[in-house]
Amino acid sequence: MKRLLTWAVVAACTVLLAAVPWLGDEVTLQFGINALLFAVLAQGWNIIGGYTGYASFGNSVFYGLGTYGVAIAMAQFNLPFGVGIVIGVMLAVVFAVALGLPILRLRGPYFAIASLGLSAAMGAVFSNLDIAGANIGLILPLARNDTMFYELSLALLAVATLSVAWIAASRFGRGLIAIREDEDAAGVMGVNTTLYKILALVISAFFTAIAGGIHAYWITFVDPAGAFDSTLNVRMIIMAVFGGPGTVFGPVIGAFLLSAVYEMLANSISTAAALVFGLVIVVAVLFMPKGLMDLGWGFRRMGLRYLLHNLRRSRL
């Protein structure tokens, strides 16, 4: 019954969001596209980082590959947008498998840093590829249709969230959680850990690459620094962790809230916006290390004491 209610609320919110292009103005719409794409990135990271427990700093590589798939297809070969998305996704998936095999053997901070290194290396590779416009970048054909981009992003987010909901309830998802909690034990219990981890990375790469492709066509310009930006990766992690990693709706809520906070800060105190954003992260980690979803749950159980309880549990 409670589950039914949750999904009814989510469906109502989705319908409301889908109506935004006809209700809000242009600025709202552009903010919306950004927030929705960030939510997809956070949700994509959630699969490998939240459920499987592998803190990937290389998801921006998949984003960049999706970006360049669309950009190369459209700017160099005059192919339609859809073909570009398919190319970008294929690149990202192949890369996720090729990469997952060696680096998913690493654990903890070593995996995090190896994936970070790969994202830095990919930027260098693309800034030396002529077909990708080298350092200068590529200009895509202009499509002045923010409503389309908005609805595409919303649809992508809906599919990504449904997939995560399905994963969370499936045998596959239980396997991922087992890997997160204790990988050796999961292996002993009969989870094919290598296969599961690579599948998780591939699904994560799939959604991330599509988000990159949509963003590339929307802003009609692609360059290596923007496509393989590692701060983008940090932002998706922060959003997912702020909302609640390893939950179905947490990363989406986190992405919406933090996008809104950042937008408001940038409007009112433009220079200090990033500074306050940093403070928000510090305070969030101190008082709600398990994210917003856990905060709501903890508040119902023990009220304000929940904040102190968190501090006590993790201090030295």
Binding site: P109, L116, A124, N128, A272, A274, L279, L316
Partner: protein, 285 residues
């Protein structure tokens, strides 16, 4: 001859790289915190030495001493009153909180010092030493010597003093160290302070060979991380050696395949080291 010169450049640069990574490796090895704000600490050290030189005319090598002291106090307070609160929480949380700290420091520096490029330019900055046809810039040579000297001090501290024994004991087994009367809150803060002081020194030297801006932190953190892994966390001289390896690799890469590939080379080396020797014991100071 060109090759020898390039390698000499790489070695000198690598010494400085090693010093940058030393503080990160110490904190990581003992506290199990990967400090993403380490690069921002280096940046702060660079600014401290720059302002001492620019406003008060203090020689940059002398200026390293107050910069290190200041960074030590700052690091001690950060660990004691902020990071000690999250030390036992998940790895991702310590990564995130130090990242938040990095953002705060970076934009604080931007507000206070502006985004201008700053270089510390003492009168001897341009002079160099020529040995057997190889040119060695004096400032870089002195920075290299300073890096080795500080690595030696850290080695002595860890291996020949009571404090060092306490630090190593804590790194090996926190509970046992506690049972023997080590106060981990104070000791963690001390270790983090030493790491921050080393970052401060590296920043001052960095300001003499490159430009300091509020934004250098992130890339310096990444570089320090690579070097700490390649050099290992157990021996300060190993870290400096890791820095030298990266310095030479980058100089050679810039010569042969172009400077855009330098980052790729260092991270490529890192991935190679990680994948080939994943089971290596990194956590033993």
């Amino acid at each position: 001859m060109l090759l020898v010169q390039i390698i000499a450049n790489g070695v000198l640069l690598g010494g400085l790289y090693g010093l940058m990574a030393l503080g990160l490796a110490l904190v990581w090895g003992v506290l199990n915190i990967v400090n993403l704000a380490h690069g921002a600490f280096i940046m702060l050290g660079g600014y401290a030495v720059f302002w001492l030189f620019d406003l008060a005319g203090v020689d940059p090598f002398l200026g390293l001493v107050p910069a290190m002291l200041g960074m030590f106090v700052f690091g001690y307070l950060v660990q004691r009153y902020l990071l000690n609160l999250v030390v036992r929480s998940a790895l991702l949380n310590t990564l995130l909180i130090t990242f938040g700290l990095d953002v705060v420091l970076t934009y604080m520096a931007q507000l206070l010092f502006s985004a201008d490029f700053r270089t510390i330019n003492p009168s001897y900055a341009g002079s160099s030493l020529a040995i057997l046809g190889i040119t060695l810039p004096l400032a870089r040579l002195a920075a290299f010597g300073m890096a080795l000297f500080l690595a030696g001090l850290v080695w002595l501290l860890l291996n020949a003093t009571q404090l060092g024994r306490m630090i190593r004991a804590t790194a090996q087994n926190l509970v046992a160290a506690r049972l023997y009367g080590v106060d981990p809150r104070h000791l963690y803060a001390l270790t983090f302070g030493i790491g921050a002081a080393l970052a401060g020194a590296a920043g001052g030297l960095y300001g003499m060979v490159a430009q300091v801006t509020p934004y250098v932190g992130a890339s310096l953190t990444a570089k320090s991380f690579v070097i700490a892994i390649i050099g290992g966390l157990e021996n300060p001289f190993g870290v400096v050696l890791g820095g030298v390896v990266i310095g030479i690799a980058e100089s050679l890469a810039a010569l042969t395949i172009g400077s855009t590939f330098t980052d790729m080379i260092s991270f490529g080396l890192l991935v190679l080291v990680l994948v080939l020797r994943p089971a290596r014991k990194l956590r033993a100071a």
